[in-house]
Each structure stands twice: as C-alpha cells, then as structure tokens.
Symmetry: C2
Subunit: 354 residues, 2 copies
C-alpha cells in the first residue's frame, strides 16, 4: 500500500522536474520527425494520441476499421486530418499490418473492442479483435518492423476482483470478464515478444478514462463521459447502490502524456505500468462534480443491477509509482478541471457525437 | 512450501480410504451409464480417459480432428473402439460442438495444440485451437448442454518462471510462451463461464505426463516418452546441462484418475487444481530410471540450447494438497513402475507409434 505522503512527494518531484526544463522543447524530444502508427487512431484514445503526436512534429499514420458502433469518429481528427495518413483497415489483416508497421519508430496499439458487456455476449468476436488482432500486429512487427517501439493500451480490468488499493502491478490478475482475459493475453504476447524476439514493447493499464473525443452514442464505453451526456440532455443520473464505490478517473490528456512518456523512455522491454489519477473518487463524488461543473442536473440512487456481482471489481485506485519512477510521468489534470474541459467540448461539438 | 511429512500423511489417508471401500464399485459410481464427450479423444490423454470411462460403463463419444502431426492415433482405441461413438471433427466447428455437447453428463476437454515450441512459431494457430476452440466448446455448452460437467486439461506451463516448489495453485502466473498464455486464457474462460453462466467447470493443471498412447513420431510432446523411444532405438540420450533440473513426471493412469475424480466430485465450480506425482525428479535421475528399466541405453551431457533461457521455467514440482482435499485423489504409480509399463507398451506396440 502507498501512503498519501508518498503521492505528495512524487507529485512534488514531478513539478520540480517540469520547472527545470522548457516543457515544449523537452516534450518534442524523441517525437519530432519520428514515424508513428496508431491503431484505432480514429477512436477516443488513438485520435487523442495522434493529435498530440502531430503537434509534436511526428509523421503519423492512422489505421482504423471504423467498425459500426465502435469508437471511431471522423470528427475526432478535426483540425489535423490533413497532417496524417489515414488508412481504413483492420488490425486482423496481416498483409496490411505488415505494410504499415514497416519503418515505424513507434506503434501505439489502441484498436480494440472496448465493451466488456459485449465481450461476454460475443466472446469469440472479442477474442478475434483484442487477442488475435494484437497477435497479428506483433507478428507483423516481428517480421517487418522489429525496431518499432510498441505501446499497448491495456485495462485495469485485467486485475478482476480487487484485493487492496492502491493497486500495484503485482496485484493478482483474475479478470472477471472475457474482455479482461483478452487484454491480459495481449499483455502477455507483448511480454513474450520482448523476451523471445527482443521487440521493444510496453503496456499501460488504463483505469476509467474520460474526456473529449470519446464516443457518446451509447452508455457502454466510458461512464463519466456518459454521465456528462445525461446532464447535457437533462436526464437524471442513476447512481447504483450507495454510490460509495471508488473508481480512478483519468483525464485523456494525462493518458496521452503517459503513452508518449512510455514511448520516449527507455523502460524495460515487455514491462507493464499502471496509470491513473493518483486519486480514488466515489461515484457519488464524481456525479456531484459533473453536476456542479454543469451548473445543473439531477441524480437518484437505484439498486445495483441483478448481474452486477459477477462484474463488480470493488473499489479501484491505481498505484502509479512504477511509471513515475521509470518515466517521470504523473497525472496533471484534476477531476474538476477535466470534467470542465470534457463538458465544454461536448457542449460545443454535440452534433458530431450524439 | 509443503513438507515431505505432509505428503506422507496425505498418502496415508488416501490409502486408508481405499482400503475401506471396494475399489471397482466405488470407482464406477457416478460414471456407469453416464454420457461423456471427450475432445481430442484419439490422443494421448483423451484416449486414456475414454478407455477407462468405457471400462467403468460410460457411454462415450469421442471427437477428434486427427490433425496430421498431432497426437491422434487410431491404435489408441485398440480394444474398445466398438464401444465408443467416434466423430471426426474439430472443436472449432460450433455447429458440430452444439450437437455433440447436448445431453452429455461429462465433457473432458483434451483437444489441443500441445507443442509449446510451435506455439511461438505459429501463435495464431495455437490461439485458434487452444483459445478459440475452448471458447467454441463453452459457448456450445452454455447454449446446448448447460448441465454437463466440463473438465479441462490445462498445463503447468501457465505458471511460467517458478518462484518456489512445490507450486500451489496461487503461484504467480506469467507464462513464458504463447502456449501457456492460451492455456491460461482457456482456464479463465472456464472460471468465467462458471461464475457468469453457472456452468459446472473444473481445470486440472498437468505437469509432465508420460505413459502408453502418447505420440512417438517426434520429440516435441512428452520428454519422458521420447527418451524411452531413444533407448528402444539404441540412441544416446542427451541431457541438457548438469541434469539437475527437476520436473514432475506424472503417469497417465494417475492423470486419468484425476480427471475422473474431478468429474465425479462436487468441487467448486470454475476452480483449478494441480495434479502431479508428489515427487520432483531430476532429469539425470529420470534418465537413469529409464536406462535401468530398459536394461540398456546410454546418456551424455550436452550444453543447453541457445534459446533455452526464454523457455526454461526452473525446477517444477506440484503441490497437490488442494485436489486431494477436494476429491481424495492422489497419484498411485511411482516413477519406476510407470516407466516399466510405458517401456513395455512401446516395445510391444512400436509398429503403431514409430
């Protein structure tokens, strides 16, 4: 367990490091002029990474299958679309992936089926995209792009039922759903391709991400984003149970930062890192933040759904000391600020997301 | 860590239990007249289970894809072939599996790609058979045979690098090869189908099995069986390094017993059990046993292969107290006796295996 003192110390060091360097010069180092492939690059996390990489001077290629109902939204590329090569294609297409990974400096692997409920209803589909898709990418990299640094978007759901918080990377890993099984299998592929073939791979375990550019057409992806839509739509927010269940909501800009830090840092090949907000937040508190930022909205408590126990992990807060030690990354955006930016984004761009 | 005293106590109780009951009457209970499906039932473990189930009065259906180079050998059914329904088919065929699992009391899931070296060279093939194949079977059971008890043949290779011996089921699970990743994913499917859908599933983690009916055409499956072939063929046995690496060699009759015990016992749904010989044995000692039983043969020490470190788990001995407590199972066949029976079997039937 990590004390809150340790958090404060860690954050203090991070701020001191930032103060010593010119942020933009420092951040562009290792990215400017480099080639980067982003799978799922029209989706929430992928497009956000793509935007920042373009800003930092990378030559970005995006591949996205644009599967209906998934996270791909062309508006996510608004403002930098002309700066990227955009390929409509599927990570399960081994010939395409062979061509795309060649000569890349970085691969950010974000393409996924991200609905854990669907993973139980359609386990073979989830396997095909999340597990086989990752293998196809790694096989392509091994044969055609062995120099690329590969950063993989995994999930805190690989841990399953939580035994203690904050959760470190050594916590037991017994996923409660098929989605978690396949994310864990994909992590293992990256670890094995590092040890057996020497590929330069790294995995980030993401808790509950939120922010601009997430899909907002259905409730099955990001909880916080969905509640923001409910408030904008004037709907009452439903809180399951007593609302005290803790989650770790991490703002998309911090997620993007973590991916770029992991890509640029000489971390151990095949290793795995938690990211998070360094703060647990109850559902009740999160809902109150959303309502407070919006200046309106209502909430009500409802019973848990009948099947919740099989999927409920218990409170989750990530211990992020490992990635801080290895890369200097720490989250910068507090919940209220992140919610404010998210709320304003969707208020301004709702026509493209609703 | 389990002391050797604990083993002795456990074995003593097992023998006392045996002495109190008529073995055959006791063993047939729960099997006689029942319907059992065995996937991979023409292979080493599957055919051995099929043989014993027939002996105990079960109505046995075997499904086997008879993939070239795999473990399926028609001679494995010698003597009881007319007593089983034999279906040539693949576990990845969802329509076939839907038909076969209907109305079964037991499903023994042994079909697999079992060569871990091949799993690294052909990871997508390994995934298709070991991971997707298991999902197809479970989906079929969920929809068409939810009452069946499903027993799955997993592997000790899910543990990866060994931290301590004897290894209990809570040991860290970081497979070193793709085969281990997919066996672990398959275990997780069984656990999740138990918790989400209430299927009655159980997993056995098998160390190094040996005995009659294993394939003997190439060296990539069972080490001990292969060394017996080398002795019969008059070849010199190569021992990697100093030969002190410990393995847990478990005789096929004990493996079969464990499957049937697990099937008949009301163990916790979705749970996982180690099986083993309750004795670690160095490679040197195993080779000496083979040579001693055969009355001839020679050995020589050679350096480890260059790539061994990525795959070498370190010494492995299973802690089997959990399955003993839950089912009363313990191994009965000591190494010398098992090697003797194996040697005689292949000496007599070599024409069908070489």
């Amino acid at each position: 367990m990590q004390s809150s003192d340790a958090y404060v110390v860690a954050l203090g060091v991070a701020r001191a490091l930032d103060a010593d360097t010119d942020p933009l010069t420092d951040r562009r180092a290792g990215i400017d002029g480099k080639r980067a492939l982003i799978t799922g690059g029209v989706g929430f996390i992928g497009s956000s990474i793509a935007r920042e990489l373009c800003r930092q001077g990378a030559k970005v290629t995006i591949v996205d299958a644009m599967l209906p109902g998934y996270g791909g939204n062309p508006f996510n590329l608004d403002g930098f679309r002309d700066g990227v090569e955009l390929v409509l294609g599927d990570i399960r297409d081994s010939e395409l992936m062979a061509r795309l990974v060649a000569d890349q400096d970085y691969v950010f692997h974000c393409a996924a089926q991200v609905d854990y409920t669907l993973s139980t209803a359609e386990p073979i589909l989830d396997q095909d995209i999340n597990s086989k898709g990752t293998l196809v990418l790694l096989e392509a990299a091994r044969k055609h792009g062995p120099e690329a640094k590969i950063v993989f978007a995994s999930s805190r759901l690989i841990y399953g039922k939580i035994g203690y918080i904050p959760v470190d990377e050594g916590h037991a890993q017994r996923p409660l759903n098929i989605y978690g099984v396949h994310k864990l299998a994909a992590e293992s592929y990256l670890r094995i391709y590092a040890s057996v073939y020497g590929l330069d791979t790294v995995t980030l375990r993401i808790p509950n991400p939120y922010g601009p550019r997430g899909q907002m057409k259905h409730s099955r992806y990001g909880l916080l984003n969905w509640l923001i839509r409910q408030v904008i739509d004037g709907e009452t927010i439903h809180i399951f149970g007593d609302g005290q269940q803790k989650r770790d909501y991490v703002f998309i800009d911090d997620v993007v930062d973590a991916f770029i830090c992991a890509a640029r840092s000489a971390v151990e090949r095949g290793d795995v890192y938690n990211i998070g907000s360094n703060a647990g937040c109850s559902l009740e508190e999160m809902v109150e933040t959303v309502i407070s930022v919006a200046g309106n909205g209502s909430k009500t408590h409802v019973p848990w759904p009948e099947d919740y126990e099989a999927n409920e992990t218990g409170d989750y807060v990530a211990n992020t000391t490992k990635i801080f030690a290895a890369t200097g990354w720490s989250p910068k955006v507090a919940l209220t600020e992140g919610v404010r930016r998210t709320y304003e984004y969707y208020l301004n761009h709702r026509a493209h997301y609703w």
